[in-house]
């Protein structure tokens, strides 16, 4: 009797030890998350907070036991904002590092350069860039977390229309973001029965946009001005706008939705409006807003860890990483097809950027409502709508 019990106990022990060994073997095998970001170069204001966010939350997830009992390993490269190095690093991630999923691509150019590879190699890819072309038409393996520039254009023009504005002056950057934003704005304006009466551009390295703005000011019938661009350009446009004393309502895009824009533009930004994620106004959100908690947590954790102001761009990476984790958990493995399918079926994920409802026809999963219209009042963001 005792003997059999002993034997049973022994067997159990063996099984338990074997089980533990298997667990630890699995634990030693990390889930590889690949990333290529524009950490330096002209788009570093995107890539820098994105990388910081990824690093910080991969650490945090690992401290909390990882995903599926396996730790996450972040492998990341800096594409310097150059599309062909983005493509090369994407290839390195896929073919040399053999990552399980890729969360990255700070700019549309970098993303689109990597897309053909992702499609052929069949690796799930969550892009952090904005242009509508990334997920329209839908590409089987490609997802993205930021709202598309088309939604931004829709949101801005709708707000203008509410104010009774139908004729607008447009000034945009010649970089990828501004140029795609310009195209979307022109299309949306036509659909909404509005008219773009002045259409000016500036290049990313320009240091003075007074000439372009003078042109817009002198165009007859302009009722409001929209600047689609990112980087320091829009801050210069904003300052020149104030210097010229233009009184018309002024709009910026979500490309400048960060506190550093307020610092650069200073008092010139007073009164301008832009579409942004609620991250900039966490305290103005009503208590029952489902995003309130996640937004406040991200903001406080990021600012505590990096001693730097949080930006909406880092939030794209937060949502990208969380979507990836959720998909892997739901898939129960890192099998690419299973993860991809799980990603495609994610519903009701409340992120910092908005509420994601993916579907086979929508690999972005956001609606234009996830943008809030903010206005700069007394040097601070104020929630308008």
């Amino acid at each position: 009797m005792l003997k059999t019990m002993m034997r049973r106990a022994g067997k159990c022990a063996v099984v338990a030890v074997a089980g533990l060994m298997m667990m630890s073997a699995q634990a030693a095998e990390p889930i590889k998350i690949g990333s290529f970001l524009s950490v330096t170069g002209p788009a570093s204001f995107l890539g820098d907070p994105e990388l910081k966010t990824l690093e910080m939350y991969v650490e945090k997830i690992n401290e909390e036991g990882g995903v599926l009992g396996r730790p996450l390993e972040l492998i990341h490269y800096d594409d310097v904002g150059n599309a062909s190095s983005a493509r090369n690093f994407a290839s390195r991630l896929i073919r040399s590092d053999q990552v399980d999923i890729i969360v990255g691509g700070s700019t549309t150019g970098a993303t689109m350069a990597a897309v053909p590879l992702m499609e052929q190699a069949q690796v799930p890819f969550i892009s952090l860039a904005g242009a509508v072309v990334i997920t329209t038409p839908v590409k089987k393996w490609v997802f993205k977390t930021p709202q598309s520039d088309r939604m931004a254009a829709e949101r801005i023009l709708a707000d203008m229309k509410d104010r009774g504005i139908t004729k607008i002056g447009l000034i945009s950057g010649t970089d990828g973001f501004g140029s795609s934003g310009r195209t979307q704005t022109l299309e949306v304006a036509e659909q909404m029965g509005m008219e773009v009466v002045a259409d000016e551009t500036y290049s990313g390295s320009d240091t003075d946009m007074t000439a372009q703005l003078t042109n817009i000011r002198n165009t007859k019938g302009v009722e409001a001005v929209l600047n689609f661009g990112f980087g320091q350009g829009p801050a210069i446009v904003t300052r020149n706008y104030a210097q010229l004393g233009i009184e018309l309502p002024f709009y910026q895009s979500h490309g400048v939705a960060s506190d550093s824009f307020l610092e650069l533009a200073g008092s010139a930004a007073e009164g301008l409006r832009l579409p942004a994620s609620p991250l900039l106004v966490p305290d103005s959100l009503p208590e029952d807003d489902p995003q309130k908690d996640v937004v406040q947590n991200y903001k406080s954790e990021y600012e505590a860890r990096w001693d730097a102001k949080v930006s909406t761009f880092g939030a794209y990476a937060y949502d990208g990483l969380m979507l990836a984790v959720r998909a892997i958990e739901e898939a129960g493995s890192t099998d690419p097809e299973a993860v991809r399918e799980a990603l495609e079926n994610i519903e009701g994920y409340v992120g910092v950027t908005g509420e994601f409802n993916m579907s086979p026809d929508d690999h972005n999963g956001l609606t234009a409502d996830s943008f809030r219209i903010l206005e700069v009042q007394n040097g601070n963001w104020k929630l308008i709508d």
């Binding site: 002209p42 500036y202 003075d208 000439a211 003078t214 320091q232 210069i236 210097q243 010229l244 650069l264």
Partner: protein, 291 residues
């Protein structure tokens, strides 16, 4: 109509004055050593960034400016001493690559020390723009023009009235002869780099309130300065000033009257045009080629 024109003119002259100062830096080094210094833009960046970070640390503006200019001057000497002088036997194009390497290096350090963000510098005087016949002028533009003019006058005096300035001129005309009459040409070259760095950093500081400043602002401004120097004729001080102002005004006028999309393309076409008709730029010296 007039207001429009004036507006474009103001814009053009302000940025043109900056180009002119950068072009003068190119010219100075080119004259002394026949090197095209592609790190010239980095002096600008050092000037602006050092001033911003020093004032952020609580240093009064005036001291911050002086310290930043000194820092740039030291950097200019270091560049000549440690990068250009050891490679004096090298080809012209090799020297160009060395200065490109130096500019990447300096930018890398700046990025590590100061980060990648853009920074604001306050206007030196009021933020209120000035109204002139319906056009507006940023008060900082007056600073840019004023400081630019002072620098040009100072340079002229330096070259015509001081011994050191004359020594630099002599060296640029004939290095061997200068050495024979007892000029320490190595010293003179170092001085040329230093003065050029001072010029660059001052330009970087006065223009920073208009353009903002960041670790990579030197790339494009440096390039534009080179373009301005080439339009004016490499080696000509007058040419650098005229070239800079012309480039700035053409850019602004194109953006205003023709197409903002092709503003830079028009500027570059203008260079081609100038060079087609005047292969040595507007004021370039006609030199007899040595065989």
């Amino acid at each position: 109509m007039l207001a429009e024109f004036l507006q474009y003119l103001f814009t053009g002259i302000t940025i043109g004055a900056t180009y002119a100062l950068i072009a003068l830096g190119f010219t100075l080094i080119y004259n002394a050593s026949h090197v095209i210094n592609f790190a010239q833009g980095e002096f600008l960046m050092i000037g602006g960034m050092a001033t911003v970070s020093l004032t952020a640390m609580g240093v009064p503006m005036v001291f911050a400016v002086v310290l930043a200019v000194i820092l740039a001057g030291v950097l200019g000497i270091a560049l000549q001493r440690f990068a250009i002088a050891p490679a004096k036997q090298a080809d012209v194009v090799t020297l160009i690559i060395i200065t490109i390497g130096a500019s990447i290096f300096i930018r890398g350090i700046a990025q590590m020390v100061w980060g990648k963000q853009y920074h604001v510098m306050q206007n030196f005087s009021t933020n209120e723009p000035i109204q002139v016949f319906g056009a507006v002028l940023n008060s900082q533009s007056l600073w840019v023009l004023g400081v630019g003019a002072v620098m040009v006058v100072a340079l002229v005096l330096f070259f015509t009235k001081t011994l050191i300035g004359k020594a630099i001129l002599a060296t640029s005309m004939n290095k061997e002869a200068a050495r024979l009459v007892g000029i320490r040409t190595q010293m003179v070259l170092m001085l040329a780099f230093m003065v050029s760095a001072l010029l660059g950093s001052v330009a970087g500081i006065v223009v920073a309130p208009i353009t903002f400043t960041s670790y990579d602002i030197g790339i494009i401004l440096g390039l534009k300065g080179f373009v301005a120097a080439a339009i004016g004729g490499l080696g000509s001080g007058v040419g650098a000033v005229v070239g800079g102002l012309t480039l700035g005004i053409v850019e602004a006028m194109t953006a205003g009257y023709i197409s903002s999309d092709y503003k830079d393309a028009v500027a570059f076409s203008m260079i081609l045009l100038v060079l087609f008709f005047m292969p040595r730029g507007l004021f370039g010296a006609k030199v007899v080629e040595r065989v």
